[in-house]
Symmetry: C2
Subunit: 74 residues, 2 copies
């Protein structure tokens, strides 16, 4: 089973959402805080992420609610 | 473990997203097609759903991407 990726920017609401979603998924979830690892913004972008928080499962991007546009994190 | 709810409106993109998300979750997921069971729009609304597709896990609402505002389904 492939790993899921959860991109976020660290706001408390996003982190709470993240934990619920991560706990609910069968597969392991790597949480990527784009505010802390800004070099991974390009990776998120290449996967099709437009805003955070976003969940990527098997190459499919799910933009969950809306925290910030990816462009705000560059 | 409580059941998750997935509200959608039946578009092909939403159904594909729905299947990926439902398969990825540990808990059982009830899929609610609000275009077919419009009497459940009020239930979705009371849970805090603003647009579809939306996933509700343990009372937390996750608006995933954006298909349609709930108001369009009334």
């Amino acid at each position: 089973m492939s790993k899921a990726l959860f991109f976020h920017a660290g706001c408390p609401v996003c982190v709470s959402a993240e934990q619920t979603v991560a706990d609910a998924l069968r597969q392991p979830v790597e949480k990527v805080h784009l505010g802390e690892v800004s070099h991974r913004v390009a990776e998120a972008e290449s996967l099709g992420v437009k805003s955070v928080p976003a969940l990527v499962i098997d190459g499919q991007v799910f933009h969950i609610n809306h925290g910030a546009d990816l462009s705000a994190l560059k």
